[in-house]
């Protein structure tokens, strides 16, 4: 009869062999090189953007109204500051209402004309609707397509995942639900940087296990698997909004509460005695560690630290 260790060695060999065939994904050296390349690209991009801004400013001063400018307006002078990060300049369309004066002097000194121009900037947040699924809807499958509508040209994100937006502004994205309540927050951003948020909460109900009987539960799993345990995944986060993932075990159905000054959440252990929840801390101050308490309904608790890095 095959032994466990022999089988395990074979399985480990298979994994290592298949990984060896694959291109190495990353190492400290590779990451360092990639970071250096990215910084170079950033610097180059900032230079290109600066050059574009100068050209745009030059064209604007001489004559050309942009498509975003209202009929009576003529031009605007873009702030000549050279941005250091591409994120700062991504919204090329100015997002503030500014007044600028451009003086054009003709060859004849006595015919000086002054044109006062006003840029009507796009400060209107894009519309954002969630057409499916309906608020509070329950599902027995965990892969759900979220759909809605926004302004053509706008982007829609949920967390760091980007939805597909067609030319008419219809967006969609497939998300995987975790058992229990799932709150999805979508953010639409138009080309001028205006944002609109929309949220919807749906529920993933685990299918009933019709074969669950006393005999099956006594054979396995052992009782100790159902002890309340809690772990965190990250402890820090540099994304916006920052979040952490908490997981552990508890008797099936046990409500689990995650509480902190800057964000909270609740879930319940599934039928396998496992639970997991992602909790966002959108208002967390950068650089300051705070305490996150994870507790069950009996008051047993675990404490974790969390620090937003940006």
């Amino acid at each position: 009869m095959t032994t466990l260790d022999a089988r395990a060695r074979s399985a480990a060999h298979s994994i290592n062999a298949c990984v060896a065939e694959f291109t190495p994904a990353a190492s400290f050296d590779v990451i360092a090189v990639r970071q250096t390349r990215w910084r170079t690209i950033q610097a180059g991009f900032a230079g290109v953007v600066a050059a574009v801004l100068v050209v745009v400013a030059g064209i604007a001063i001489t004559q050309t109204p942009t498509p975003e400018v209202a009929e009576e307006t003529v031009t605007t002078v873009v702030e000549p500051t050279v941005p250091q990060e591409p994120e700062i300049v991504t919204p090329i369309v100015t997002d503030t209402t500014e007044m600028a004066e451009t003086t054009t002097t003709s060859e004849a000194p006595e015919t000086t004309t002054t044109t006062t121009t006003t840029t009507v900037a796009d400060t209107t947040p894009p519309p954002l609707t969630i057409t499916a699924p309906e608020e509070g809807k329950h599902f027995e499958i965990d892969r759900i397509e979220f759909r809605g509508a926004t302004e053509p040209g706008a982007t829609v994100f949920t967390g760091k995942y980007q939805a597909t937006v067609d030319a008419e502004g219809n967006w969609s994205i497939v998300l995987i639900l975790s058992p229990g309540a799932n709150g999805a927050r979508f953010v639409a951003t138009d080309p001028a940087g205006n944002q609109t948020e929309a949220t919807v909460t749906v529920h993933y109900d685990l299918p009933e296990t019709t074969t669950t009987t006393t005999t099956t539960t006594t054979s396995e799993p052992p009782k100790e698997e159902y002890e309340f345990t809690a772990y965190n995944v990250y402890g820090t986060c540099e994304e916006d909004p920052p979040y952490d993932v908490y997981w552990g075990t508890a008797p099936p159905g046990t409500p689990i509460y995650v509480e902190s000054e800057y964000g909270s959440g609740t879930t319940a252990a599934n039928e396998h005695g496992e639970w997991e929840i992602s909790v966002y801390f959108p208002e967390a101050p950068g650089g300051k560690e705070f305490t996150v308490k994870v507790k069950d309904d009996t008051g047993q608790k675990y404490l974790f630290g969390f620090k937003r890095l940006i």
């Binding site: 032994t3 466990l4 395990a8 399985a11 990984v19 990353a26 993932v245």
Partner: protein
Amino acid sequence: MIGLAYALSGSRSAAEDLAQEAFLAAHNAWERVSQYEKPEAWVRRVVANKSVSMFRRRMREAKALARMKTESSYLPRIPAEDDEFWKAVRALPKRQSQAIALHYLEEMSVVEIAAILECAENTVKVHLHKGRKRLADRLGLQMGDAT
């Protein structure tokens, strides 16, 4: 690292991302991580934690689907019998699965596993013992060599 991610996540499409994210996390926190005696242990811990996180694994798969990653760019498939073994490992409680993967895949000692999982050596021994016993039961194998 990728092998550990593959074994614990079971996802050929997500394994590379998981390992890469762990290295990126190390890079981003390098000021702190570099002070550790064994930075690679920190990365392994991140990989192990990320890999067993079911929700995040699924989200990565969704992301991978969204990217329309081609099948040929996934890790190669492993033989069905070995895949069955790792499925059984993933069905274990998370700490047991992590300990088992580090023990068999990375051939780590109890001391090394304890350092990565940040728990006592005795705790690792318990995880390994229970995990191995359950694997043997589920796969119909004899326990074999001592741990």
